[in-house]
Symmetry: C2
Subunit: 332 residues, 2 copies
């Protein structure tokens, strides 16, 4: 087998077929993804489906805690989870740079397959394009996904008193990419939090009826996600800074750089807005999960605020505004 990707791997002919068989079919093998057909066909029961897409252009493509493949599948799986859905079928479109090492592509495909197995999803449709050297940094991946929405999940308008749960520490993915990109060798165990969150949907079961909205705080971080929710539901919120968990190494980096971890992406955390009075119940359920054991109620929506406010540890209040200018691009 060739060691590196050539333009011929993208022309739709023999080389493309070989690449698809040797890498993608090997890792994504399932009964639907077979043959030369351009569409997957499967039977679907009646019900509500969730459907999402994301393109991934992260730089670097391998980073502590993951790679672009893991990130792509987790991103799509978590977008589905935010819609109250468990993932069923995924698609994967690769745009690969001429000269890219096929061994790396193999590692990326394996990462994708590993997460799929973990969450019970299947990659059933794919596409491979190759572009000339210098365009794209190695590989870009688009994933889309179809999930089944839990029958009891009913996204509703947020009202005053609804509680806000965050399922763990913040800003780890964005901070890790920032450090990797700038080749900063700081002390501390920096690692992306990139992880799939479908377990939330499975764990909540019928109790998902108390969840009014979910959102994974990726680009723009927890602050931006809360601002968007606040704006679209036309209600302010109050967040307790002391409830926010930031790993000390992450905190140090941001103190050093003068940046705000609240605006840095997580790729394995979920914000849940829970009906007033049910926050603790929901918290106790998801706190048992592998990727959510640091969940906390971080605040609540409150009609006496018109914006998202952060009550600082010192007792002051600071308005969180929508992200205006991220200092780092291509974090996902």
């Amino acid at each position: 087998m060739d060691k590196r990707i050539t333009l011929r791997h993208g022309d739709g002919g023999l080389q493309t077929n070989k690449l698809i068989r040797n890498i993608f079919y090997k890792h994504f093998d399932n009964e639907i993804l077979t043959g030369y057909q351009d569409s997957a066909i499967f039977q679907m029961e009646a019900g509500r489906l969730a459907y999402t897409t994301d393109s991934f252009v992260v730089k670097p493509i391998f980073f502590p805690g993951g790679d672009i493949g893991k990130l792509a599948v987790c991103g799509t799986v978590n977008d589905l989870a935010a819609a109250g859905a468990v993932p069923l079928y995924l698609s994967a479109g690769f745009v690969i740079e001429e000269g890219f090492e096929i061994e790396k592509l193999d590692m990326i495909a394996k990462s994708m397959s590993d997460i799929c197995k973990k969450v019970g999803a299947k990659i059933v449709a794919g596409d491979t394009k190759v572009v000339e050297k210098g365009l794209v940094d190695g590989v870009y991946i688009n994933t889309s996904g179809i999930g089944r929405v839990h029958e009891f999940f009913n996204p509703r308008h947020i009202t005053s008193g609804d509680e806000i749960i965050l399922t763990g520490t913040i800003g780890e993915h964005g901070t890790t990419i920032l450090l990797e990109r700038n080749d900063l060798r700081l002390q501390g165990d920096f690692k992306s939090d990139c992880n799939p969150l479908s377990e939330i949907i499975y764990e909540l079961g019928d109790s998902i009826k108390y969840v009014k909205l979910m959102r994974d705080p990726t680009r723009g971080g927890v602050a931006n996600a809360l601002c968007e929710i606040s704006e679209s539901h036309n209600i302010g919120a109050i967040i307790e800074e002391e409830k926010l968990q930031i790993r000390s190494a992450v905190k140090s980096v941001h103190e050093l750089l003068g940046t705000d971890p609240l605006y840095f992406a997580s790729e394995g955390r979920m914000i849940l807005v829970v009906e007033k009075g049910f926050g603790t119940n929901i918290l106790n359920m998801i706190n048992t999960l592998d990727n959510c054991h640091n969940s906390r109620i971080i605040g609540k929506f409150d009609k006496s605020y018109s914006k998202v406010c952060l009550r600082t540890s010192l007792g002051g209040e600071r308005i969180l505004t929508m992200l205006e200018n991220q200092m780092i691009s291509r974090i996902c």
Copy 2:
């Protein structure tokens, strides 16, 4: 509004939201694609679904007969059609180069919307990423799509005597891109055949039961598509060269360049393999359609051949082999 894309349009903050509202929501407006949610949610009846994805990296992004947006939606719609499905929901992921003109993005989004309206599909999920100047040539688009498979479509094993219909002239998309790319100013009306083909599924109705397989001959053209079908069904075929329709301007280009239009992509044609004896019936139905009025039976599968053979106008026979090396990359 800004005139050009900046990295800030891809950071997930205010600028991203503005761009999405001003361009994508404006053109793709529908009741499912709204709000800040990362997943679309919709009700689906029980049945067979088709699901497909393609990434588009065509260069140039505007060409006679279309642009990358039209190409992306047609590509996905036609992959669904090849699975016997009418398109319902599409996703669109954009990777945009810093500095790209927003006006061009607007034109591309409009092209996508126009085709969606024509075929009754909706773009319900999207994503926008921005990469630094010099990466990607303007914009790459990934589309995925979900369609409903016609209840009477039943892909089956091909047997000897099954007839092969091609819905029009060949190689026009690939040839047009080749000329544009090399800035060859040749006489003749060169234009991509890029067009949506869902009308075939609607027109055939229950008669689709006589269709054993469909394939749109994109990358690798008609020859490669037939070779793939032949290989996966383990049966040869005989194609009559005189039944193949090649526009004279296209023919002249390939005579000049010594290339074979049979390996050049179409983006608005379909190959239908029809049960022996029903070819003429099916042909008469689809010949009435806007994008299929030059349909012909071009040959048949035949167990006395082990490969795909072309019977030339002079009476000789030539084996068509799988594409080994396309002379032009990034045609879609």
